[in-house]
């Protein structure tokens, strides 16, 4: 009889429930009423609480959403970190079984199993967070209501609480910014690009494959550049959201992996170094990861020391046995 684990049953049940709800109410209704409208109204409420400042409301909502999704982010970061510690072993395997892909697959799977790492663990927390981020992004743009049509649309999505209804339209000026139009001083664009670059550098997992490494390198500067350009084009409220989100990301990343690849240099040629010690193979890891690797190495040395002394004892015992056997034969 086909038997399902408890976790699988829960996942299937949740998936079926989501499909049924989407089918009955329609995806737009579900999206609006479950994610978007609550966020928009909360943003307006925050604006009211923080003396009508929409800029502060954007910052606070971004922090709250980041904190709420922190368990998922943490899982994702930990999974990524675990994957990065396995990189040297992966390289060895890739080199060893370069011609036997089937065997390589099996060995990689065994490696993951042995280390207790699930490669999908890096992806699913990100996938779960994705709709929340889209809703947050949308709620910022829609609550800004820069045109009369948008204001009408916003009015249709506000809860009928007096403080929410009365708080709109929101105060668009914040610091030197008019949140409804792009920042003409380039400050926000620079902040967005710089913070994204730092975050990218910190969170980038060292790639074993040179092709992948080249791609990662390009992404590290390309993404911040593109987002900096977008910040010059979109309402600065959205730029503010990106900057705040990046800064929170940097703080979180620091507490999980340290500065990561921010203050260290990438390896010149990964494949050439594949046969060397893991410390030289890897893009230098964070202080915490270094310490972890060092501990593992010490443990291994101790284990091997222990193994050697055990072997010596065995040898001694064996030679004693041989000597007594020879003596018995002589007698």
């Amino acid at each position: 009889m086909f038997k399902l684990s408890r976790n699988t049953i829960i996942v299937i049940a949740v998936a079926v429930a989501i499909i049924v709800v989407l089918a009955v109410f329609g995806p737009v209704e579900v999206w609006n009423n479950v994610l978007l409208r609550p966020m928009m109204n909360f943003l307006v409420l925050l604006s009211y609480v923080f003396f009508g400042s929409f800029g502060v409301a954007i910052i606070v909502l971004t922090i709250i959403v980041r904190l709420l999704t922190f368990p998922l982010t943490l899982r994702q970061m930990k999974a990524t970190k675990s994957m990065s510690t396995l990189a040297p072993k992966m390289q060895e395997l890739q080199k060893k079984y370069a011609k036997d892909q089937e065997k390589l697959r099996k060995e990689v799977a065994a490696l993951y199993k042995e280390a207790g790492v699930n490669p999908i663990g890096c992806t699913w927390p990100m996938l779960v967070q994705f709709p929340i981020w889209i809703a947050l992004y949308q709620s910022v743009t829609r609550t800004l209501a820069t045109s009369p049509e948008e204001l009408i649309s916003l009015s249709q999505n506000l809860y009928s609480l007096p403080i929410i209804q009365q708080s709109v339209p929101l105060e668009a000026s914040f610091l030197w910014l008019n949140l409804g139009v792009p920042d003409t001083y380039f400050v926000l664009a620079i902040l967005c690009g710089a913070s994204m670059w730092v975050l990218q550098k910190m969170s980038t997992v060292p790639a074993a494959d040179p092709k992948q490494q080249s791609m990662t390198k390009t992404m590290v500067w390309m993404m911040p550049l593109i987002f900096a350009m977008f910040t010059l084009m979109v309402p600065s409220g959205l730029g503010l959201f990106w900057v705040v989100s990046n800064i929170i990301g940097i703080i979180m990343q620091y507490f999980v992996t340290g500065w990561g690849g921010l203050f260290s240099r990438a390896p010149a040629a990964a494949p050439a170094a594949a046969t060397e010690q893991p410390k030289q193979l890897e893009t230098p890891l964070g202080a915490e990861q270094e310490a972890q690797l060092e501990t593992e190495r010490t443990k291994q040395e101790k284990r091997s020391e222990h193994g050697k002394s055990r072997d010596k004892r065995k040898d001694r015992r064996g030679s004693r046995r041989d000597r007594s056997r020879k003596a018995r034969r002589r007698s």
């Binding site: 995806p27 737009v28 999206w31 609006n32 978007l36 409208r37 928009m40 981020w133 889209i134 992004y137 949308q138 743009t141 829609r142 800004l144 209501a145 820069t146 045109s147 009369p148 049509e149 948008e150 009408i152 649309s153 009015s155 249709q156 999505n157 009928s160 007096p162 209804q165 009365q166 709109v168 339209p169 092709k211 080249s214 791609m215 390009t218 992404m219 390309m222 993404m223 593109i226 987002f227 977008f230 979109v234």
Partner: protein, 378 residues
């Protein structure tokens, strides 16, 4: 090659993120991208048997023979082939021999009614987006802007009167409501939630501004020396000429008030963005009738029109409704299949309306039959 691929990949990723604005959005259809771009919602106005309207493609058009089954195109500004104006939200205001139009890029234009040629040498630049309509009184055009300025412009020359702006709101809060001039006083409402009464000659405040709990985009109605207007605090107010409240309590609805009220036989009839119409006793503010009695129609933003005993309104649900002004009973409804945000204009047995599908309709009030339909796209 690798770098190129990476750039393409990065662009795609960033594009995807920006396109998240194209996911199902509140109030929008699936894959409706981000917020709505400013398209305009100018309503038609009738003068000397000619109908003037700002189109959603940034033009001002004049139509003749509006009383006949086949309407005749008179003129258009700018003419075909020339760069269009910015979006037009307000209705054109008709002067002696010219009409005045404000655009979303903050410019005010004057055109001769006869041929559509510009009357002023250049447009008047206010510096702030214009959403309300201009008001004309004694050769002066009054218009509010999103920078919080109320401008008084000489209708003949297009030059500023009483300085660049005759009045400026304290926090540069938007003036989207159309100013109303009555007995030498300009009444204007702003997003700071205040209704101002200003001396038309000097720009001085006649009385302390009346403060409401929300922004005001509703054009005040002045009837029997009482000022009626609604606010985004969902309340509808009645003020005496000295700025004091007429009613013991303002009337409260479930949504914002944006449309201008109309007065009819001792009642003030007002529509709200909550999708309902309320008829209030003009003296007490007590509710006389409500349409619909249960539920609601789409949001009502445009100013309704009164044609005889019929109160006609356009709604966000794409329908035009005609109600008995005495009882609030629905007489007919006409589905235009496109949201109606523009103000309606009542003529002789006909109501003119521009829907968001860029068509101007003349609807017979007798039987809801369209007399003609003119597409401004062509």
């Amino acid at each position: 090659m690798k770098t190129k691929l990476s750039i393409v990949f990065a662009l795609l990723l960033a594009g995807c993120l920006l396109l998240t604005g194209c996911f199902p959005g509140a109030g929008g259809s699936l894959f409706s991208c981000g917020g709505a771009a400013p398209a305009g919602w100018s309503g038609p106005v009738l003068g000397n048997d000619t109908l003037y309207v700002g189109t959603m493609t940034g033009q001002v058009i004049a139509l003749e023979n509006v009383g006949e089954p086949i309407v005749k195109f008179k003129w258009m500004y700018p003419p075909g082939g020339e760069t269009a104006l910015a979006s037009v939200y307000g209705n054109p205001a008709i002067g002696e021999d010219s009409i005045f139009v404000g655009t979303y890029d903050g410019k005010v234009y004057a055109f001769y009614t006869e041929n559509g040629l510009p009357q002023w040498l250049t447009s008047y630049k206010t510096g702030g987006a214009i959403v309300g309509s201009p008001a004309i009184s004694d050769g002066t055009v009054y218009i509010g802007t999103s920078q919080g300025g109320l401008h008084a412009i000489d209708a003949a020359t297009g030059t500023a009167k009483l300085g660049f702006a005759m009045f400026q709101t304290e926090g540069h809060d938007e003036i989207w409501a159309t100013p109303v001039v009555h007995d030498g006083v300009v009444y204007v409402a702003a997003f700071d939630g205040r209704l101002y009464a200003l001396d038309a000659a000097s720009g001085d405040q006649v009385w302390e501004p009346f403060q409401t709990g929300g922004a005001i985009a509703c054009t005040p109605l002045i009837h029997d020396d009482v000022i009626y207007f609604g606010s985004f605090d969902r309340k509808f107010y009645a003020l005496n000429k000295d700025g004091s409240q007429k009613w013991a309590e303002p009337f409260e609805a479930d949504g914002w008030f944006w449309a201008k009220a109309v007065a009819y036989d001792g009642t003030v009839i007002v529509a709200s963005l909550d999708g309902r119409v309320y008829a209030l006793n003009a003296d007490t503010g007590a509710l006389v009738w409500q349409y619909p009695e249960d539920g609601q129609v789409g949001s009502i933003r445009g100013d309704p029109a009164l044609v005889g005993d019929l109160f006609v309104l356009g709604s966000e649900d794409g329908k035009v409704y005609a109600l008995d002004a005495v009882t609030g009973v629905e007489k007919w409804q006409r589905d235009l299949e496109s949201p109606v945000r523009a103000s309606l204009y009542g003529g002789d047995g006909v109501v003119f309306v521009q829907a968001s599908n860029q068509k101007v309709y003349a609807i017979e009030t007798e039987d809801a039959r369209p007399r003609w339909v003119f597409s401004t796209k062509e």
